[in-house]
Symmetry: C2
Subunit: 236 residues, 2 copies
Protein backbone atom coordinates (compact mmCIF):
# COMPACT_ATOMS: atom_id res chain seq x y z
CA UNK A 1 0.00 0.00 0.00
CA UNK A 2 1.11 3.59 -0.63
CA UNK A 3 1.83 5.47 2.62
CA UNK A 4 -1.31 7.63 2.52
CA UNK A 5 -3.45 4.57 1.73
CA UNK A 6 -1.74 2.76 4.60
CA UNK A 7 -2.59 5.58 7.00
CA UNK A 8 -6.20 5.61 5.83
CA UNK A 9 -6.46 1.82 6.08
CA UNK A 10 -5.07 1.75 9.63
CA UNK A 11 -7.54 4.41 10.72
CA UNK A 12 -10.47 2.67 9.01
CA UNK A 13 -9.59 -0.72 10.47
CA UNK A 14 -9.28 0.82 13.93
CA UNK A 15 -12.78 2.22 13.54
CA UNK A 16 -14.02 -1.21 12.41
CA UNK A 17 -12.45 -2.82 15.50
CA UNK A 18 -14.16 -0.21 17.70
CA UNK A 19 -17.49 -1.06 16.05
CA UNK A 20 -16.89 -4.79 16.78
CA UNK A 21 -16.31 -3.92 20.46
CA UNK A 22 -19.42 -1.73 20.69
CA UNK A 23 -21.63 -4.19 18.83
CA UNK A 24 -20.24 -7.01 20.98
CA UNK A 25 -21.12 -5.11 24.15
CA UNK A 26 -24.67 -4.62 22.92
CA UNK A 27 -25.07 -8.30 21.93
CA UNK A 28 -23.80 -9.39 25.38
CA UNK A 29 -26.29 -7.06 27.06
CA UNK A 30 -29.15 -8.40 24.94
CA UNK A 31 -28.26 -11.97 25.90
CA UNK A 32 -27.95 -11.10 29.60
CA UNK A 33 -31.31 -9.30 29.64
CA UNK A 34 -33.11 -12.02 27.69
CA UNK A 35 -32.16 -14.65 30.27
CA UNK A 36 -32.75 -12.27 33.20
CA UNK A 37 -36.25 -11.80 31.75
CA UNK A 38 -36.63 -15.59 31.57
CA UNK A 39 -35.52 -16.29 35.14
CA UNK A 40 -37.60 -13.40 36.53
CA UNK A 41 -40.57 -14.12 34.22
CA UNK A 42 -40.31 -10.41 33.28
CA UNK A 43 -42.29 -9.73 30.08
CA UNK A 44 -41.51 -5.99 30.14
CA UNK A 45 -37.76 -6.64 30.06
CA UNK A 46 -38.28 -9.26 27.32
CA UNK A 47 -40.15 -6.61 25.31
CA UNK A 48 -37.22 -4.21 25.70
CA UNK A 49 -34.79 -6.82 24.33
CA UNK A 50 -37.07 -7.40 21.32
CA UNK A 51 -37.34 -3.63 20.73
CA UNK A 52 -33.58 -3.15 20.90
CA UNK A 53 -32.72 -5.80 18.30
CA UNK A 54 -32.91 -3.17 15.53
CA UNK A 55 -29.90 -1.46 17.17
CA UNK A 56 -27.87 -4.66 16.73
CA UNK A 57 -29.01 -4.86 13.10
CA UNK A 58 -28.00 -1.22 12.54
CA UNK A 59 -24.44 -2.02 13.69
CA UNK A 60 -24.40 -4.95 11.27
CA UNK A 61 -25.41 -2.75 8.30
CA UNK A 62 -22.90 -0.05 9.23
CA UNK A 63 -20.06 -2.56 9.50
CA UNK A 64 -20.89 -4.10 6.15
CA UNK A 65 -20.85 -0.66 4.52
CA UNK A 66 -17.54 0.25 6.15
CA UNK A 67 -15.88 -3.06 5.23
CA UNK A 68 -16.94 -2.80 1.59
CA UNK A 69 -15.63 0.78 1.45
CA UNK A 70 -12.29 -0.30 2.90
CA UNK A 71 -11.93 -3.15 0.41
CA UNK A 72 -12.81 -0.89 -2.54
CA UNK A 73 -10.69 2.10 -1.49
CA UNK A 74 -7.61 0.47 0.07
CA UNK A 75 -7.54 -2.89 -1.75
CA UNK A 76 -5.98 -4.59 1.27
CA UNK A 77 -4.00 -7.82 0.88
CA UNK A 78 -2.91 -10.71 3.14
CA UNK A 79 -3.36 -9.99 6.86
CA UNK A 80 -5.02 -6.63 6.09
CA UNK A 81 -7.63 -8.27 3.90
CA UNK A 82 -8.20 -11.04 6.45
CA UNK A 83 -8.72 -8.46 9.21
CA UNK A 84 -11.26 -6.56 7.10
CA UNK A 85 -13.25 -9.60 5.97
CA UNK A 86 -13.11 -11.10 9.48
CA UNK A 87 -14.70 -7.99 11.00
CA UNK A 88 -17.58 -8.58 8.60
CA UNK A 89 -17.87 -12.23 9.70
CA UNK A 90 -17.73 -11.29 13.37
CA UNK A 91 -20.55 -8.79 12.87
CA UNK A 92 -22.56 -11.63 11.25
CA UNK A 93 -22.03 -13.74 14.38
CA UNK A 94 -22.96 -10.88 16.71
CA UNK A 95 -26.08 -10.19 14.69
CA UNK A 96 -27.10 -13.84 15.00
CA UNK A 97 -26.45 -13.72 18.77
CA UNK A 98 -28.82 -10.73 18.88
CA UNK A 99 -31.46 -12.68 16.93
CA UNK A 100 -31.19 -15.64 19.30
CA UNK A 101 -31.54 -13.36 22.35
CA UNK A 102 -34.65 -11.88 20.70
CA UNK A 103 -36.05 -15.36 20.12
CA UNK A 104 -35.58 -16.23 23.82
CA UNK A 105 -37.37 -13.00 24.75
CA UNK A 106 -40.34 -13.88 22.56
CA UNK A 107 -40.56 -17.22 24.35
CA UNK A 108 -40.44 -15.45 27.75
CA UNK A 109 -43.59 -13.55 26.75
CA UNK A 110 -45.26 -16.78 25.59
CA UNK A 111 -44.36 -18.68 28.77
CA UNK A 112 -45.91 -15.93 30.91
CA UNK A 113 -46.17 -17.04 34.53
CA UNK A 114 -46.14 -20.81 33.94
CA UNK A 115 -44.06 -22.82 36.40
CA UNK A 116 -40.46 -23.68 35.44
CA UNK A 117 -38.56 -25.93 37.90
CA UNK A 118 -35.96 -24.02 39.94
CA UNK A 119 -33.18 -26.45 39.02
CA UNK A 120 -33.76 -25.76 35.32
CA UNK A 121 -33.74 -21.98 35.91
CA UNK A 122 -30.47 -22.38 37.83
CA UNK A 123 -29.04 -24.47 35.00
CA UNK A 124 -30.03 -21.81 32.46
CA UNK A 125 -28.40 -19.08 34.58
CA UNK A 126 -25.23 -21.12 34.81
CA UNK A 127 -25.17 -21.80 31.07
CA UNK A 128 -25.87 -18.12 30.28
CA UNK A 129 -22.93 -17.02 32.44
CA UNK A 130 -20.68 -19.57 30.77
CA UNK A 131 -21.73 -18.49 27.26
CA UNK A 132 -21.38 -14.79 28.15
CA UNK A 133 -17.86 -15.56 29.38
CA UNK A 134 -17.08 -17.24 26.05
CA UNK A 135 -18.30 -14.19 24.09
CA UNK A 136 -16.31 -11.80 26.26
CA UNK A 137 -13.13 -13.88 25.96
CA UNK A 138 -13.61 -14.16 22.19
CA UNK A 139 -14.05 -10.39 21.84
CA UNK A 140 -11.04 -9.76 24.11
CA UNK A 141 -8.94 -12.12 21.98
CA UNK A 142 -10.07 -10.13 18.93
CA UNK A 143 -9.17 -6.78 20.52
CA UNK A 144 -5.69 -7.97 21.48
CA UNK A 145 -5.26 -10.36 18.51
CA UNK A 146 -4.39 -13.07 21.06
CA UNK A 147 -4.32 -16.42 19.27
CA UNK A 148 -3.79 -18.47 22.47
CA UNK A 149 -6.81 -16.87 24.09
CA UNK A 150 -8.83 -17.54 20.92
CA UNK A 151 -7.85 -21.23 21.03
CA UNK A 152 -8.86 -21.38 24.72
CA UNK A 153 -12.33 -20.09 23.76
CA UNK A 154 -12.58 -22.73 21.05
CA UNK A 155 -11.72 -25.49 23.53
CA UNK A 156 -14.08 -23.97 26.13
CA UNK A 157 -17.07 -24.72 23.91
CA UNK A 158 -16.93 -28.33 25.13
CA UNK A 159 -18.00 -27.17 28.61
CA UNK A 160 -20.96 -25.34 27.08
CA UNK A 161 -21.91 -28.51 25.19
CA UNK A 162 -21.67 -30.62 28.36
CA UNK A 163 -24.01 -28.28 30.21
CA UNK A 164 -26.31 -28.18 27.18
CA UNK A 165 -26.55 -31.97 27.27
CA UNK A 166 -27.33 -32.29 30.97
CA UNK A 167 -29.87 -29.45 30.93
CA UNK A 168 -31.53 -30.85 27.82
CA UNK A 169 -31.96 -34.28 29.43
CA UNK A 170 -33.22 -32.78 32.68
CA UNK A 171 -35.88 -30.82 30.80
CA UNK A 172 -36.94 -33.91 28.83
CA UNK A 173 -37.28 -35.87 32.08
CA UNK A 174 -39.50 -33.15 33.49
CA UNK A 175 -41.71 -33.43 30.40
CA UNK A 176 -42.00 -37.18 30.79
CA UNK A 177 -42.99 -36.94 34.46
CA UNK A 178 -45.95 -34.68 33.76
CA UNK A 179 -47.32 -34.11 30.23
CA UNK A 180 -48.79 -30.80 31.42
CA UNK A 181 -45.26 -29.43 31.32
CA UNK A 182 -44.71 -30.34 27.68
CA UNK A 183 -45.70 -26.97 26.20
CA UNK A 184 -43.57 -24.85 28.56
CA UNK A 185 -40.64 -27.27 28.43
CA UNK A 186 -40.65 -27.17 24.63
CA UNK A 187 -39.94 -23.44 24.92
CA UNK A 188 -37.18 -24.21 27.42
CA UNK A 189 -35.62 -26.79 25.06
CA UNK A 190 -35.46 -24.15 22.32
CA UNK A 191 -33.95 -21.63 24.78
CA UNK A 192 -31.26 -24.15 25.75
CA UNK A 193 -30.57 -24.84 22.05
CA UNK A 194 -30.31 -21.08 21.44
CA UNK A 195 -27.70 -20.76 24.19
CA UNK A 196 -25.74 -23.63 22.68
CA UNK A 197 -25.84 -21.92 19.28
CA UNK A 198 -24.71 -18.62 20.84
CA UNK A 199 -21.75 -20.57 22.23
CA UNK A 200 -20.99 -21.76 18.68
CA UNK A 201 -21.00 -18.14 17.47
CA UNK A 202 -18.46 -17.26 20.19
CA UNK A 203 -16.33 -20.12 18.83
CA UNK A 204 -16.71 -18.75 15.29
CA UNK A 205 -15.42 -15.35 16.51
CA UNK A 206 -12.44 -17.05 18.16
CA UNK A 207 -11.69 -18.96 14.93
CA UNK A 208 -11.71 -15.64 13.02
CA UNK A 209 -9.05 -14.28 15.42
CA UNK A 210 -6.94 -17.37 14.71
CA UNK A 211 -7.51 -16.88 10.97
CA UNK A 212 -6.47 -13.21 11.02
CA UNK A 213 -3.22 -14.14 12.76
CA UNK A 214 -2.30 -17.28 10.86
CA UNK A 215 -4.09 -17.19 7.49
CA UNK A 216 -5.94 -20.44 8.10
CA UNK A 217 -8.66 -21.73 10.41
CA UNK A 218 -7.72 -24.31 13.06
CA UNK A 219 -7.50 -27.59 11.18
CA UNK A 220 -8.24 -30.08 13.94
CA UNK A 221 -11.89 -31.10 14.25
CA UNK A 222 -13.81 -28.61 16.40
CA UNK A 223 -14.35 -30.39 19.73
CA UNK A 224 -18.04 -31.35 19.96
CA UNK A 225 -19.78 -33.37 22.60
CA UNK A 226 -23.45 -32.72 21.83
CA UNK A 227 -25.40 -35.77 22.96
CA UNK A 228 -28.83 -34.11 23.04
CA UNK A 229 -29.57 -36.62 20.34
CA UNK A 230 -30.09 -38.82 23.43
CA UNK A 231 -29.64 -42.02 21.41
CA UNK A 232 -28.82 -43.84 24.61
CA UNK A 233 -32.10 -42.79 26.12
CA UNK A 234 -34.06 -43.90 23.10
CA UNK A 235 -32.62 -47.37 23.15
CA UNK A 236 -32.19 -47.94 26.85
CA UNK B 1 -16.31 2.36 -14.69
CA UNK B 2 -13.76 2.44 -17.52
CA UNK B 3 -14.81 0.23 -20.47
CA UNK B 4 -12.29 -2.53 -19.79
CA UNK B 5 -13.20 -2.56 -16.09
CA UNK B 6 -16.87 -2.71 -17.11
CA UNK B 7 -16.23 -5.73 -19.32
CA UNK B 8 -14.29 -7.45 -16.55
CA UNK B 9 -17.00 -6.64 -13.99
CA UNK B 10 -19.81 -7.98 -16.20
CA UNK B 11 -17.91 -11.21 -16.75
CA UNK B 12 -17.08 -11.59 -13.03
CA UNK B 13 -20.65 -10.89 -11.96
CA UNK B 14 -21.93 -13.42 -14.47
CA UNK B 15 -19.62 -16.01 -12.96
CA UNK B 16 -20.88 -15.07 -9.47
CA UNK B 17 -24.49 -15.54 -10.62
CA UNK B 18 -23.60 -18.93 -12.05
CA UNK B 19 -22.07 -19.90 -8.71
CA UNK B 20 -25.29 -18.83 -6.94
CA UNK B 21 -27.29 -21.08 -9.27
CA UNK B 22 -24.95 -24.07 -8.77
CA UNK B 23 -24.76 -23.62 -5.01
CA UNK B 24 -28.55 -23.20 -4.89
CA UNK B 25 -29.03 -26.47 -6.77
CA UNK B 26 -26.77 -28.27 -4.30
CA UNK B 27 -28.54 -26.76 -1.26
CA UNK B 28 -31.93 -27.81 -2.70
CA UNK B 29 -30.66 -31.34 -3.24
CA UNK B 30 -29.30 -31.52 0.32
CA UNK B 31 -32.67 -30.44 1.71
CA UNK B 32 -34.57 -32.92 -0.47
CA UNK B 33 -32.32 -35.82 0.52
CA UNK B 34 -32.36 -34.94 4.24
CA UNK B 35 -36.15 -35.17 4.36
CA UNK B 36 -36.22 -38.21 2.06
CA UNK B 37 -33.88 -39.84 4.59
CA UNK B 38 -36.24 -38.81 7.40
CA UNK B 39 -39.39 -40.15 5.78
CA UNK B 40 -37.67 -43.39 4.71
CA UNK B 41 -35.71 -43.71 7.98
CA UNK B 42 -32.64 -44.05 5.76
CA UNK B 43 -29.47 -43.54 7.82
CA UNK B 44 -27.19 -44.19 4.84
CA UNK B 45 -28.74 -41.35 2.85
CA UNK B 46 -28.59 -39.11 5.95
CA UNK B 47 -24.89 -39.88 6.20
CA UNK B 48 -24.39 -38.88 2.56
CA UNK B 49 -26.04 -35.50 3.21
CA UNK B 50 -23.77 -34.92 6.21
CA UNK B 51 -20.71 -35.86 4.15
CA UNK B 52 -21.66 -33.55 1.30
CA UNK B 53 -22.06 -30.44 3.48
CA UNK B 54 -18.39 -29.55 2.93
CA UNK B 55 -19.19 -29.08 -0.79
CA UNK B 56 -21.78 -26.41 0.15
CA UNK B 57 -19.20 -24.75 2.42
CA UNK B 58 -16.63 -24.81 -0.41
CA UNK B 59 -19.03 -22.87 -2.65
CA UNK B 60 -19.49 -20.36 0.16
CA UNK B 61 -15.73 -19.76 0.52
CA UNK B 62 -15.26 -19.48 -3.24
CA UNK B 63 -18.05 -16.92 -3.55
CA UNK B 64 -16.65 -14.83 -0.73
CA UNK B 65 -13.23 -14.79 -2.37
CA UNK B 66 -14.71 -13.87 -5.76
CA UNK B 67 -16.89 -11.09 -4.32
CA UNK B 68 -14.02 -9.52 -2.40
CA UNK B 69 -11.85 -9.63 -5.56
CA UNK B 70 -14.58 -7.94 -7.60
CA UNK B 71 -15.03 -5.17 -5.01
CA UNK B 72 -11.27 -4.54 -4.78
CA UNK B 73 -10.55 -4.70 -8.53
CA UNK B 74 -13.64 -3.08 -10.06
CA UNK B 75 -14.82 -0.81 -7.20
CA UNK B 76 -18.45 -1.21 -8.28
CA UNK B 77 -21.05 1.41 -7.30
CA UNK B 78 -24.84 1.58 -6.98
CA UNK B 79 -26.64 -1.38 -8.60
CA UNK B 80 -23.30 -3.07 -9.43
CA UNK B 81 -22.18 -2.92 -5.80
CA UNK B 82 -25.58 -4.12 -4.61
CA UNK B 83 -25.44 -7.09 -7.00
CA UNK B 84 -21.97 -8.04 -5.78
CA UNK B 85 -22.71 -7.76 -2.06
CA UNK B 86 -26.07 -9.49 -2.50
CA UNK B 87 -24.44 -12.54 -4.08
CA UNK B 88 -22.38 -12.77 -0.89
CA UNK B 89 -25.52 -12.57 1.26
CA UNK B 90 -27.31 -15.17 -0.84
CA UNK B 91 -24.39 -17.55 -0.44
CA UNK B 92 -24.66 -17.01 3.34
CA UNK B 93 -28.32 -18.05 3.19
CA UNK B 94 -27.57 -21.09 1.03
CA UNK B 95 -24.79 -22.13 3.38
CA UNK B 96 -27.21 -21.92 6.33
CA UNK B 97 -29.77 -23.99 4.39
CA UNK B 98 -27.06 -26.61 3.93
CA UNK B 99 -26.31 -26.55 7.68
CA UNK B 100 -29.99 -27.01 8.54
CA UNK B 101 -30.28 -29.95 6.11
CA UNK B 102 -27.21 -31.47 7.79
CA UNK B 103 -28.81 -30.98 11.22
CA UNK B 104 -31.96 -32.80 10.06
CA UNK B 105 -29.77 -35.65 8.76
CA UNK B 106 -28.03 -35.99 12.13
CA UNK B 107 -31.44 -36.28 13.77
CA UNK B 108 -32.46 -38.98 11.24
CA UNK B 109 -29.52 -41.08 12.43
CA UNK B 110 -30.48 -40.47 16.09
CA UNK B 111 -34.14 -41.35 15.53
CA UNK B 112 -33.16 -44.67 13.93
CA UNK B 113 -36.18 -46.88 13.44
CA UNK B 114 -38.41 -45.32 16.12
CA UNK B 115 -42.06 -44.87 15.14
CA UNK B 116 -43.16 -41.51 13.71
CA UNK B 117 -46.92 -41.12 13.02
CA UNK B 118 -47.75 -41.23 9.31
CA UNK B 119 -49.69 -37.97 9.45
CA UNK B 120 -46.60 -36.17 10.75
CA UNK B 121 -44.40 -37.71 8.05
CA UNK B 122 -46.95 -36.59 5.44
CA UNK B 123 -46.99 -33.09 6.97
CA UNK B 124 -43.19 -32.95 6.83
CA UNK B 125 -43.20 -34.07 3.17
CA UNK B 126 -45.75 -31.38 2.35
CA UNK B 127 -43.78 -28.69 4.18
CA UNK B 128 -40.51 -29.78 2.52
CA UNK B 129 -42.11 -29.50 -0.94
CA UNK B 130 -43.45 -26.06 -0.09
CA UNK B 131 -40.09 -24.82 1.21
CA UNK B 132 -38.23 -26.30 -1.78
CA UNK B 133 -40.67 -24.44 -4.03
CA UNK B 134 -39.89 -21.22 -2.18
CA UNK B 135 -36.13 -21.71 -2.63
CA UNK B 136 -36.53 -22.51 -6.35
CA UNK B 137 -38.76 -19.45 -6.94
CA UNK B 138 -36.35 -17.24 -5.00
CA UNK B 139 -33.37 -18.46 -7.06
CA UNK B 140 -35.37 -18.06 -10.29
CA UNK B 141 -36.25 -14.49 -9.31
CA UNK B 142 -32.53 -13.90 -8.71
CA UNK B 143 -31.53 -15.34 -12.10
CA UNK B 144 -34.09 -13.19 -13.96
CA UNK B 145 -33.91 -10.20 -11.53
CA UNK B 146 -37.72 -10.44 -11.31
CA UNK B 147 -38.90 -8.20 -8.46
CA UNK B 148 -42.55 -9.30 -8.68
CA UNK B 149 -41.58 -12.94 -8.39
CA UNK B 150 -39.35 -12.05 -5.42
CA UNK B 151 -42.26 -10.33 -3.68
CA UNK B 152 -44.46 -13.39 -4.33
CA UNK B 153 -41.86 -15.56 -2.55
CA UNK B 154 -41.84 -13.14 0.38
CA UNK B 155 -45.62 -13.34 0.70
CA UNK B 156 -45.56 -17.11 0.23
CA UNK B 157 -43.69 -17.50 3.52
CA UNK B 158 -47.02 -17.10 5.33
CA UNK B 159 -48.15 -20.46 3.95
CA UNK B 160 -44.97 -22.07 5.26
CA UNK B 161 -45.62 -20.52 8.67
CA UNK B 162 -49.21 -21.78 8.70
CA UNK B 163 -48.07 -25.33 7.98
CA UNK B 164 -45.31 -24.98 10.58
CA UNK B 165 -47.90 -24.03 13.20
CA UNK B 166 -50.29 -26.88 12.49
CA UNK B 167 -47.51 -29.48 12.30
CA UNK B 168 -45.93 -28.17 15.49
CA UNK B 169 -49.21 -28.46 17.41
CA UNK B 170 -49.90 -31.92 16.01
CA UNK B 171 -46.49 -33.12 17.18
CA UNK B 172 -46.99 -31.62 20.65
CA UNK B 173 -50.36 -33.38 20.91
CA UNK B 174 -48.73 -36.66 20.04
CA UNK B 175 -46.19 -36.09 22.84
CA UNK B 176 -48.93 -35.39 25.35
CA UNK B 177 -50.86 -38.55 24.45
CA UNK B 178 -47.92 -40.82 25.16
CA UNK B 179 -44.79 -39.62 27.00
CA UNK B 180 -42.83 -42.46 25.36
CA UNK B 181 -42.94 -40.36 22.18
CA UNK B 182 -41.35 -37.31 23.81
CA UNK B 183 -37.76 -38.08 22.82
CA UNK B 184 -38.49 -38.80 19.14
CA UNK B 185 -40.99 -35.95 18.87
CA UNK B 186 -38.45 -33.49 20.24
CA UNK B 187 -36.28 -34.34 17.23
CA UNK B 188 -39.31 -33.83 14.99
CA UNK B 189 -40.04 -30.42 16.55
CA UNK B 190 -36.49 -29.33 15.77
CA UNK B 191 -36.81 -30.68 12.19
CA UNK B 192 -40.03 -28.67 11.71
CA UNK B 193 -38.31 -25.57 13.12
CA UNK B 194 -35.39 -26.13 10.73
CA UNK B 195 -37.79 -26.23 7.77
CA UNK B 196 -39.41 -23.02 8.93
CA UNK B 197 -35.98 -21.37 9.17
CA UNK B 198 -35.07 -22.63 5.69
CA UNK B 199 -38.25 -20.89 4.50
CA UNK B 200 -36.98 -17.69 6.13
CA UNK B 201 -33.70 -18.02 4.23
CA UNK B 202 -35.66 -18.32 0.95
CA UNK B 203 -37.41 -15.08 1.94
CA UNK B 204 -34.04 -13.44 2.64
CA UNK B 205 -32.89 -14.39 -0.88
CA UNK B 206 -36.07 -12.90 -2.35
CA UNK B 207 -35.51 -9.68 -0.37
CA UNK B 208 -31.98 -9.47 -1.78
CA UNK B 209 -33.43 -9.61 -5.33
CA UNK B 210 -35.76 -6.74 -4.42
CA UNK B 211 -32.81 -4.84 -2.93
CA UNK B 212 -30.63 -5.27 -6.05
CA UNK B 213 -33.41 -3.87 -8.22
CA UNK B 214 -34.64 -1.03 -6.02
CA UNK B 215 -31.82 -0.07 -3.65
CA UNK B 216 -33.87 -0.77 -0.54
CA UNK B 217 -35.42 -3.76 1.22
CA UNK B 218 -39.23 -4.06 1.27
CA UNK B 219 -40.32 -1.66 4.02
CA UNK B 220 -43.62 -3.23 5.07
CA UNK B 221 -43.39 -5.64 7.99
CA UNK B 222 -42.49 -9.13 6.81
CA UNK B 223 -45.74 -11.13 7.06
CA UNK B 224 -45.39 -13.53 10.00
CA UNK B 225 -47.96 -15.87 11.46
CA UNK B 226 -45.88 -18.07 13.71
CA UNK B 227 -48.09 -19.25 16.57
CA UNK B 228 -45.92 -22.15 17.68
CA UNK B 229 -45.69 -20.12 20.86
CA UNK B 230 -49.07 -21.80 21.43
CA UNK B 231 -50.08 -19.19 24.05
CA UNK B 232 -53.70 -20.19 23.50
CA UNK B 233 -52.92 -23.76 24.40
CA UNK B 234 -51.06 -22.81 27.54
CA UNK B 235 -53.92 -20.75 28.88
CA UNK B 236 -56.86 -22.72 27.64
Amino acid sequence: MLPHTRAKFDKDLQRLSRLVAEMGGLAEQQLLHAFKALSERNARLAGEVIGRDCAVDAFHSEMEKESVNIIAQCQPLAVDLRATVSALHISDDLERIGDLAKNVSKRVIEIGLEVIPKSIIRGLEHMTKMVLGQIQEALDSYASRDIDQALAVRNGDQKVDALNNSLFHETLKYMEIDPHHIAVCTHILFCIKNLERIGDHATNIAEMVYYIGTGHVPTDERPKTDTTGFRRRLHS
